[in-house]
């Protein structure tokens, strides 16, 4: 039986094309790779190569024919030992095709009955705008000739789940709680800085695949002294000074994690991690999924995040919502020393990539830590720092301290605030927040970063979705002003959220002014 040559799809969006030119004629011998025709697609004129050896038996489509459907038989090739008599009755379908089988319809990533323009293909320049109605497919040819930059396949994530209620974002979170502290346990005062150092040292003693790398972590003893004395105890093989090369060492850390180690990658500050964010997200967070579960990446990216003091816009950004946005990451932002230690130890043991956001202005603050042997806290559990009945305030990292101060001021005025320290931003413990709002009926979300698309926006959305009927006022957000952080002392103070902003927002949701 002759081999059927089918009209090929030469781009992900092509459904039909014009057979511009035949470059072979019946009787010609072709081998794999020989050009047999030129076809005009929706994007360009392409050469079609033979994929099998044979003698051209018959051309079934005339030169210049328009609207030739993909997978239509366009020519017949005679195999070795066949002559023209084999052509009779061939090419009418149902015969042996050059692909060796039937041609099922293209699977649609969007499910049944809906075609997407180029949204799954190479000319994709973005999602929703390209969505086309039934039948008519719209595509936007790329000036790059088919491949819009270096991005991966187009957005396929907008699939609907069928009719009815839209699915809300799932926060999968294990049901966990803090360990019990035995009666009579002594408390020791430790700075956040030393708590973090102790966490790393304890985990490095426990597991020799754990190592620390970053700029100035070894001989300099840490730019903020968080890795103080680790070099002396563990040596240069496990406490590794890197060149100033964030993108490179973040990627190298990911490779080391694939290779069986448990890297702790310190960024001198998370501002510099923007150079490395491709590896944090594309290489660390997504690979487990892309590998069908084979390629776990146990790595901790840690360092100070958010505004320090008077260092200007480039050195003062809160990346909480950036990382918390990404599936495949865990994101932790502790407030006090006990959480810093217990959660960093948990992060190092976790088999997943963890972004651990510290705060420079908290490093020197001292807090009580229970004096137990192995202080490890669960990732994914918020902590109620102060109970109250009138309003719920959520905060993380340094803002927790501001929220607690605000609560004291408010208490003097008769408003009892419940302060929830989120501690982990992904997975986010919205259960604790929603339960609290069902009690207090009011919500203020405080964060240090910009408000647009922020952590507070997410919490407010979840609370509105899950506790709408319990709310006595619209939730309010407290956050940095929508500007790059200024250097001038007065402008910096105006830009950053503080205790007074929280007090004001709480009074507003309580209709107290």
């Amino acid at each position: 039986m002759p081999i059927e040559v089918l009209m090929p799809a030469l781009s992900p969006t092509m459904e039909e094309g014009t057979l511009a030119k035949w470059t072979v004629k019946p009787g010609d011998t072709v081998k794999s790779g020989d050009v047999i025709a030129e076809i005009e697609t929706d994007k360009a004129t392409m050469e079609v190569e033979a994929v099998e050896e044979g003698v051209v038996g018959k051309l079934l489509v005339e030169e210049g024919a328009e609207g030739v459907k993909v997978n239509q038989v366009i020519a017949l090739l005679l195999e070795e030992g066949e002559d023209d008599s084999a052509l009779e009755g061939a090419g009418s379908g149902g015969n042996k095709s050059s692909s060796g089988g039937d041609t099922p319809p293209r699977p649609s990533p969007q499910g049944e009955g809906e075609e997407t323009g180029s949204s799954k293909g190479e000319s994709s320049n973005g999602g929703a705008a390209e969505k086309s109605g039934k039948g008519g497919s719209t595509s936007f040819p790329s000036p790059l000739g088919g491949e819009a930059a270096k991005s991966g396949p187009g957005d396929q994530t907008t699939g609907r789940t069928g009719g009815g209620k839209p699915e809300t974002v799932k926060h999968t979170r294990p049901d966990v709680s803090d360990p019990d502290i035995p009666e009579g346990t002594a408390m020791v005062k430790v700075t956040v800085r030393d708590a973090l150092r102790d966490a790393m040292a304890e985990e490095m003693r426990r597991d020799e695949t754990v190592f620390v790398m970053g700029e100035e972590v070894a001989e300099y003893q840490g730019a903020y002294k968080v890795t103080r004395e680790l070099l002396q105890e563990f040596g240069p093989q496990r406490v590794v000074d890197t060149p100033i090369t964030e993108y490179g060492f973040a990627g190298l850390g990911v490779g080391a994690a694939f290779g069986g180690l448990k890297p702790i990658v310190e960024f001198m500050t998370f501002n510099f991690a923007m150079q490395a964010i491709d590896h944090i997200i594309n290489s660390a967070a997504k690979t487990l999924y892309m590998s069908g579960g084979q390629m776990g990446c146990p790595i901790v990216f840690r360092g100070p995040n958010g505004a320090a003091s008077r260092v200007g816009a480039q050195h003062s950004q809160d990346f909480s919502s950036w990382y918390a946005h990404v599936p495949g990451l865990k994101v932790i932002a502790p407030y006090d020393a006990a959480d810093a230690k217990g959660l960093l130890k948990a992060a190092i043991r976790d088999p997943n990539p963890v972004v651990f956001l510290e705060h420079e202005l908290m490093y020197g603050e001292s807090f009580d830590i229970p004096d137990v042997d192995d202080w490890v806290l669960p990732i994914g559990k918020a902590k109620i720092r102060r109970e109250g009945s009138d309003v719920t305030i959520t905060a993380h990292s340094r803002m927790v301290g501001f929220a607690l101060k605000a609560a004291e001021i408010l208490a003097e005025e008769g408003i009892e605030a419940e302060v929830i320290d989120l501690r982990t931003l992904r997975p986010l413990d919205t259960d604790t927040v929603v339960a609290s709002v069902k009690k207090t009926n009011r919500l203020v979300c405080a964060e240090e970063g910009w408000g647009r698309m922020g952590v507070g926006a997410e919490i407010a959305a979840v609370v509105v979705a899950e506790a709408f009927d319990w709310l006595d006022a619209p939730p309010l957000r407290v956050h940095q002003k929508d500007v790059p952080l200024p250097y001038a002392a007065n402008l910096e103070a105006l830009s950053l959220p503080g205790v007074a902003d929280i007090v004001k927002a709480v009074k507003a949701v309580c209709y107290a002014e």
């Binding site: 041609t103 293209r106 190479e122 999968t172 490179g248 490779g255 290779g259 892309m290 390629m295």
Partner: protein, 343 residues
């Protein structure tokens, strides 16, 4: 150690080599020819399935470059790691991954290496020490350096081989990786597959220094240009480089001068080069033709035996296509699995 690049071995014209003095064994050359043939036929089939709409998205074929990965793989030991970019099908087959599993990933099916969740550019195999399959140009280079870092840390005697193209060779992170790899003398092979074009941009239009093997000179990494169309030349260069890395002398750069016959991806009409240029490689420098010629001239094989081999390989490839078509799409429940390692 040489702190400057060694000059090109000026790509010995392999065709002129005396088969009698082939520096490899019959089994080696026969095996490599078969591996190259498998990649060639596999890629042709993948292109065909793409044309039928069974494979979607990006699909970058390796046809023309087969000798590079097959020759290098011949110089690696079990347990050495391999990492590459998105033109990765050949690397996976050379690493011993199954044609069925790779093809079914291309069609996005449950039987694929990533159970349909990765696609052409994102496949992995812990078992075969294949660490991707990376879609971001150049990202595999620090990852490969990190695998080498882990080898050194664990003193396991393994090396990592990282492949990237002439396009990726202009990414900054490549040089960040070169610096750390040499600074710490990591057991790493960096293999630049210079096929002449970064998508549609020729090397000379994109690179101030077009001799890419020199790119490590500023870091003290030795480099060498190799005729990437000659599997024996590739093997010999890789063997020397691998020994260098394994013995603790640090990284080594091999620039493989090669050529891809097909467009950058399936929808590339490849108008940036002439048909004559493509035909020059295809007709006169083809890595399979060359190996075939050497096998026959050495008296190690004949037309009949090679035809038989071609049949066997085609059978494997056809079976993989059938498997990839028959394997079901992943269960909808797979949507939410493998986001995090649980527990």
């Amino acid at each position: 150690m040489a702190s400057k690049s060694t000059p090109s071995k000026s790509a010995p014209s392999a065709a002129a080599k005396k088969p009698a003095s082939l520096p490899v064994t019959r089994d080696q050359l026969t095996g490599w020819y078969r591996d190259m043939l498998l990649i060639r036929r596999f890629e042709e089939k993948a292109g065909q399935l793409y044309g039928m709409g069974l494979i979607a998205g990006f699909c970058h074929l390796y046809i023309g470059q087969e000798a590079v990965v097959v020759g290098v793989q011949g110089a690696l030991e079990a347990g050495d790691q391999v990492t590459t970019g998105y033109r990765d099908h050949g690397h996976m087959l050379a690493a011993g991954m199954s044609a069925n599993g790779v093809m079914a990933e291309l069609t996005g099916r449950e039987g694929g290496y990533s159970r349909g969740k990765g696609g052409s550019m994102h496949m992995f195999s812990r078992e075969k020490q294949f660490f991707g399959g990376h879609g971001i140009v150049g990202a595999q280079v620090p990852i490969g350096a990190g695998l080498a870092f882990a080898n050194k840390y664990r003193r396991n005697g393994k090396i990592s081989a990282t492949y990237f193209g002439d396009g990726a060779a202009n990414q900054g992170q490549v040089y960040e990786s070169f610096n750390m790899a040499k600074l710490w003398n990591l057991p790493a092979l960096f293999i630049i597959e210079n096929n002449g074009y970064a998508m549609g941009t020729s090397v000379k239009r994109a690179s101030s220094e077009t001799e890419l093997f020199r790119r490590g000179a500023g870091f003290g990494i030795p480099g060498e240009a190799v005729d990437g169309m000659d599997v024996i030349a590739v093997y010999q260069a890789a063997k020397t480089a691998a020994a260098h890395a394994r013995e603790g002398h640090g990284p080594y750069i091999l620039e493989m001068k090669t050529y891809r016959y097909r467009g950058h991806s399936m929808s590339d009409p490849a108008k940036y080069r002439t048909r004559e240029e493509v035909n020059e490689y295809r007709d006169h420098k083809d890595p399979l033709d060359l190996a075939r010629k050497m096998l026959i001239e050495a008296g190690w094989s004949d037309e009949d035996a090679l035809k038989e081999m071609d049949k066997e390989v085609k059978q494997i490839v056809n079976e993989s296509a059938e498997f990839a078509k028959d394997s079901p799409e992943p269960d909808p429940s797979e949507l939410y699995t493998d986001v995090l390692v649980e527990g």
